[in-house]
């Protein structure tokens, strides 16, 4: 017994020693348990050994050949999730050997999808562009000469300076594809005084965004999937393309804990295969299903009454729409019942083609979720249908009924879970309004009307002196690509066309300058995304720069470490800004100068050093604990978590110091005369205007307490949108069902719906075409067709050809006969059908077919000359290309379909599908741009221009977000 007691004493002494040792080690920011925990995540190289990580060379087996690596973090630049990567830099020759996940990244938590590790392919791609090139001859002839960066900068600097001096600011435009960063480019343009930011968002996510913004003043959702009881996803895309990795891993966790997953997707997607309920609705009928679910919650009284009473702007609804009723919550509830009573399960079944019992079962599952209901819609249905933004509105309606806003397992606004640190300079709003991107016909457009640019230029609404595309491929990505071809080759419309791109693409072939930009391991950016209830900021960096600096070298320019003369954009923009304004007389240079050494150029070190030191709460302290500067900390770890568990931000009580000389409206909006406190988080958010006496909105009065509320005009969740009502769309002011342009009522008997918006988890637009691993995984896009439709059309076998005819032309493609698609609908994925004309050198060897492209007036035809195949290059793997079919470029046959409210291009197409003829070949395209023009004209008649509907003589409601907001005076219609 004595001995046992002694042993116990000794045991406890050891226990104390272990605990103390762990505490000491972790206090130094190091890892005590270095390796697989068995309980938490699998093993990663512990951060203490990132300077010298040893792995055995698998190819040397059975010899034990050690390789020593330096592990340097960066951020993936393929999709928009900004997952953390760790570059394995070989210490022997300072080459990057591979990329794996960064365990220090709070969003991706060490995990990546296929696209992350495939970054190594992009870096070592034999077809990548390594030097600045200038075209020789006419645009598109395929002749290039190498030029120096100095020559490029001088040429562009002179053009831009001249345009700015001559007050032709609106002739300068930078068109962004993958942003991959938070606001740097916008601020460059603001510093030039140019409203020339053009994003791809209106062919991407505007439909999704608009619905969120009208509800809550934030245009993105942040669902807390990991803690949800029920997860409701409309479309697979968000979980298979963007957000795939950070969201999928959290959905997987939730499922392991018993969460139910409901997926609405006409196509059997990867996500749908994992769902408890897969609903394959008639495209565009998703709102009808959402409203049937909402109606069930209302009719059975299973909505959160208190939440609705406090946080919906029901008072405003009653005042504007039902002045006949008493202004009480009870009358609103009565009105709510009748408002949605028509959306029965039977009605939804009739619209969607899904039986009523299934919808009822789904509704019941949702009803049981309580506040643990997470949902997400981003592209697909919201991006595909006329009124797609209403699908978002009706989806948020369900969350708002359940009170699942800002709750554990619920829905958050992205602005609560995103952190954009304030930069060293914040140039003022430009004093001009770019009408080529923000035309008066679309006063409520969520983003720039980018895809209409060819038509606006053809109409003579303006011309462009200098047009940059930046990591963007408008000919391929947009609908009606041949109209883009026509304007991009027209020097009268676009004076100088510059493509900033790491790789060749269909648009770069037409440029005057092709300028090589870095991939994710070759450039600096900061990036933050909403992926759980917390805020983090990630850092992208040229990893070889960080590696060499660890070895004691000094690097001042990313070209010193990047291959060839590949540059990073930040250094390029700073240098270009100096060339535009060399003496500072235009007031531009001041925003690109060092603060530490006035009169000299701002370096990226100072830019990010200042940001991390001054605008990221907690980072300086965390870095200091490891004896690092904030910048050194970010170079070492690549990411920093600022907060976790933000919770229901809108319920926070406003501090007394902010409350003075208040104006409280009858609806409870509170305005204050106090100054707005300084903020360091610049995450984009709605900006409701002041009251008549200039007081700023500070919150909303809820049961006698001033709470933060939402950044909407009312300060509440806007069930009733006064913005929509006031700007010409009163019939759309509440969440409702807007029948799609491909609703069965709109289709001729022989027409089908082409679902064109789906993505594959292993590719990302045209950006990933230079990743050989990804190309091997996915390289073609057959047309999905149901066996019933195949039989009707006489298509017998998978692989047979069909001709798909839109309003402006047709494409020819192989079919995949599958029950994974609804009868009456065909589907074709993104990413594929890449091409290059015979005369073009360079490209993406594993993905681009060689084509014969012919134009006769407005008629364009494309015939395939050669498929891809094995070929010689500096990479022996190109000899191993075993596939030949790379699919079809379907977007070329799509006319533009601008949604009159959100401005989103409505991607779904009404098509006629016929069996391929003897002269048809896979990949053939035929398009008439005159017909494209007619469709554009038709859709423009649906708009309600600001000149007719603006309630205050302005172009656009000032509170709505805009990536680069011009000064207030430019909003006036008469300016």
């Amino acid at each position: 017994m004595t001995s046992k007691k002694t042993n116990r004493v000794s045991l406890m002494e050891r226990a104390r020693r272990v605990s103390a040792a762990r505490k000491d080690v972790e206090a130094r920011g190091e890892t005590f348990y270095q390796g697989a925990s068995g309980v938490h995540l699998a093993a990663f190289p512990p951060k203490e050994r990132w300077d010298d990580w040893v792995e055995l060379d698998s190819r040397a087996w059975p010899r034990r050949e050690e390789h020593h690596y330096m592990l340097v973090p960066t951020t993936c630049f393929n999709c928009e999730s900004a997952c953390g990567l760790l570059a394995y830099v070989d210490r022997d020759d300072l080459h990057v050997r591979k990329f794996e996940g960064n365990p220090e990244h709070p969003g991706s938590r060490g995990r990546n999808c296929a696209k992350g590790p495939a970054t190594i392919n992009q870096v070592t791609d034999p077809d990548r562009i390594l030097y600045p090139l200038r075209k020789v001859g006419e645009r598109g002839e395929g002749q290039w000469e190498r030029v120096s960066w100095d020559e490029v900068l001088d040429t562009l600097g002179e053009r831009l300076r001249k345009a700015i001096i001559e007050e032709r600011q609106n002739e300068i435009m930078v068109h962004i594809g993958r942003p991959g960063e938070d606001g740097f480019t916008e601020r460059v343009l603001a510093s030039w005084g140019v409203d020339g930011h053009n994003s791809h968002t209106n062919v991407c996510s505007s439909g999704g965004r608009a619905g969120y913004q009208f509800w809550m003043g934030a245009d993105r959702p942040s669902p807390d999937h990991a803690n949800a009881k029920v997860i409701y996803l409309i479309s697979s895309h968000l979980e298979t393309g963007h957000y795939f990795n950070p969201h999928a891993q959290r959905i997987t966790e939730a499922r392991a804990n018993g969460a139910k997953v409901i997926v609405l997707d006409t196509r059997l997607s990867n996500t749908a295969t994992h769902a408890d309920h897969w609903l394959s609705p008639q495209p565009g009928s998703e709102s009808a299903i959402n409203l049937a679910v909402a109606q069930h919650l209302i009719a059975t009284g299973r909505y959160d009454r208190e939440f609705v009473r406090k946080w919906w702007n029901w008072q405003e609804y009653l005042e504007e729409c039902r002045p006949d009723l008493p202004a009480t919550f009870e009358s609103f509830e009565t009105a709510l019942v009748s408002m949605y009573s028509e959306f029965t399960f039977e009605y939804a079944a009739q619209e969607s083609g899904i039986d009523a019992a299934t919808i009822a079962e789904v509704a019941e599952t949702v009803a049981q979720a309580g506040t643990r209901f997470s949902s997400h819609i981003w592209r697909s249905a919201a991006a595909a249908n006329l009124g797609g933004w209403q699908i978002t509105r009706t989806l948020v309606l369900i969350s708002a009924l359940l009170g699942a806003i800002g709750t554990e397992g619920g829905l958050f606004a992205n602005s609560w879970n995103k952190f954009v640190p304030k930069p060293i300079y914040t140039p003022p709003h430009p004093g001009v309004w770019q009408q080529l991107t923000w035309p008066t016909e679309f006063p409520l457009a969520q983003n720039e009307m980018s895809f209409l640019l060819p038509h606006f230029l053809k109409e003579g609404r303006g011309t462009l002196d200098t047009y940059f595309i930046r990591v963007y491929n408008p000919v391929w990505t947009n609908p009606d690509g041949m109209s883009w071809m026509e304007v991009l080759t027209d020097k009268e419309k676009i004076g100088c066309f510059v493509s900033l791109t790491p790789t060749w693409n269909e648009s770069a072939y037409l440029a005057d300058f092709v300028l090589p930009m870095g991939h994710s391991s070759e450039r600096h950016d900061t990036h933050s995304y909403e992926q759980y209830d917390g805020q983090w900021v990630g850092f992208r960096q040229p990893v070889l720069r960080a590696a060499r600096e660890r070895l004691g070298e000094t690097i001042t320019d990313s070209r010193q470490v990047n291959p060839g003369e590949v540059w990073e954009e930040n250094e390029f923009w700073i240098e270009l800004s100096w060339r535009i304004d060399p003496d500072g007389s235009l007031g531009i240079r001041q925003y690109h100068e060092s603060k530490a050494n006035p009169g000299t150029k701002l370096s990226v070190d100072e830019y990010y050093g200042w940001m991390f030191e001054n605008s990221v709460p907690g980072l300086p302290e965390k870095a200091a604990a490891e004896d690092l500067t904030p910048l050194e900390f970010m170079r070492r770890y690549g990411a920093f978590e600022i907060t976790k568990g933000q919770g229901a931000v809108y319920t926070a009580q406003v501090r007394d110091q902010e409350l003075a000389d208040l104006n409280v409206t009858p609806q409870g909006r509170v305005f204050t005369a106090t100054e707005k406190p300084p903020v360091v988080n610049m995450a984009p958010v709605g900006a409701p205007g002041p009251d008549g006496e200039g007081r700023r909105p500070v919150g909303v009065m809820i049961d006698g307490v001033v709470r933060t509320g939402f950044p909407t005009p009312s300060g509440k969740l806007e069930f009733y949108s006064s913005t929509l009502a006031g700007w010409g769309w009163p019939e759309q002011a509440i969440p409702g069902y807007l029948k799609s342009h491909v609703h069965p009522d709109e289709l001729a008997e022989d027409q089908m719906v082409l679902l064109s918006t789906f993505r594959l988890p292993t590719q990302i637009h045209t950006r990933s075409a230079n990743s050989k691993w990804l190309d091997e995984l996915a390289h073609t896009n057959p047309v999905w067709i149901h066996p019933q439709d195949a039989a009707r059309l006489g298509v017998q076998h998978t692989g047979d050809l069909v001709r798909v005819q839109s309003d402006i032309g047709y494409f020819v493609a192989k079919v995949w006969i599958t029950e994974g698609i609804r009868p009456g609908v065909v589907a074709c994925s993104h990413h594929m059908g890449r091409w290059r004309p015979e005369n073009q050198g360079g490209g993406a060897g594993g993905m681009m077919a060689t084509v014969d492209l012919q134009r006769e007036g407005s008629d364009w035809t494309m015939r395939r000359l050669r498929n891809v195949g094995p070929h010689e290059s500096s990479d022996p793997d190109t000899q191993r290309i075993w596939w030949s079919d790379t699919g079809v470029h379907q977007n070329l046959i799509f006319p533009v379909h601008p949604d009159p409210i959100s401005g989103m291009h409505c991607w779904h197409q009404a098509v006629r599908v016929v069996k391929g003829g003897p002269d048809d070949h896979a990949g053939d395209i035929s398009v008439d741009t005159e017909k494209a023009r007619a469709v554009y004209d038709d859709w423009m008649t649906r708009t309600r221009p600001a000149g007719h509907v603006s309630p205050d003589g302005t172009r656009r409601p000032s509170w709505l977000m805009r990536p680069l907001k011009p000064s207030a005076d430019t909003f006036a219609l008469d300016t």
């Binding site: 406890m12 050891r14 226990a15 272990v18 348990y33 390796g35 925990s37 068995g38 309980v39 392991a256």
Partner: protein, 296 residues
């Protein structure tokens, strides 16, 4: 009922769990990853060779091997442990039944229990932790750790002694379980006499059937004792070769080995689980002795 001793503070309880986590961690992570943990435990860090010798080649630390019907990785032995993880709402890792993973899970549950403030949560966590101990740790660890200490790799022998003391401490603190662990309740029958050679071989390499942990090193030593050649191969193959060369001598050695294991189990205590193991080894020894008589 709480198993925190009246004199033990919450901090001390957490330290106790940390010790178990550390013991699990060094088993789970091969060198050089956990050098600081070894030092904190007051133990000489095992080398990579030593770690591999014990945990990969000699005595893989998986519950399925010691509690499964066939004495192999995976199968029902692993499923039972995996089910326990899932019942806790956790995703079972690939090596759900690895000693390291189980000790770390035990520590995690203990830590959560010590931090919980809600009485119901505390009770649920304690029940889970004790179930883990009774069902998935105590039924095989004393024998396993003894076998490790017999392999004469000093760093890991010290680790095994410390791990045994720590687990015994947990066992002594815990509420006695009303039933034998499921793996023992549903264990296959012991050797009954008149078994075929294949049955005998199957049983001798499956601890839960024989009550004996037979390592490669044991077999090499047994071959020397029996005066037969040791044929390299997996244990069943090597034992068959021994029996084919001299059945009587091999059975005699095996019977003695089973008797030794009965004594080893007896030394581990008198609780029902340990008693079960002792009885099983004794039964094996008896059957083997009878077979030996038949052989002679």
């Amino acid at each position: 009922m709480s198993d925190q001793r009246p004199e033990e503070s919450a901090v001390e309880a957490r330290e106790r769990y940390e010790l178990l986590r550390a013991l699990g961690s060094v088993a789970l992570t091969p060198p050089p990853g956990n050098e600081s943990v070894w030092h904190a435990l007051g133990l000489r860090p095992a080398t990579g060779v030593e770690h591999t010798e014990i945990f990969v080649l000699g005595l893989p630390p998986h519950a399925a091997i010691y509690l499964g019907d066939e004495g192999k990785l995976g199968g029902e032995g692993l499923d039972r442990v995996g089910g326990f993880w899932r019942a806790l709402g956790l995703t079972a890792p690939e090596d759900a039944d690895h000693l390291g993973a189980l000790l770390m899970l035990y520590a995690e549950l203990g830590l959560a229990e010590s931090l919980a403030t809600n009485e119901r949560s505390i009770e649920q966590l304690r029940t889970s932790r004790q179930a883990l101990l009774h069902e998935h740790l105590w039924p095989w660890l004393p024998a396993y750790l003894h076998a490790v200490s017999e392999l004469q790799v000093s760093s890991l022998a010290e680790w095994a002694t410390l791990a045994h003391a720590a687990v015994l401490e947990e066992h002594d603190r815990s509420t006695p379980a009303p039933l034998l662990p499921l793996a023992l309740r549903e264990a296959p029958q012991a050797l009954a006499g008149g078994d075929s050679v294949d049955d005998l071989l199957d049983a001798m390499v499956a601890p839960v059937r024989s009550g004996v942990v037979l390592t490669q090193r044991d077999l090499r030593a047994g071959a020397a004792v029996a005066g037969v050649g040791f044929r390299r191969g997996e244990r069943r193959f090597a034992l068959r070769a021994m029996l084919e060369q001299d059945a009587a001598a091999t059975l005699g050695w095996l019977a003695e080995r089973a008797r030794s294991w009965a004594e080893i189990h007896r030394g581990h205590g008198t609780d029902p689980t340990t008693d079960w193991w002792r009885a099983r080894a004794e039964s094996t020894a008896t059957v083997l002795a009878a077979a030996l008589e038949g052989e002679q």
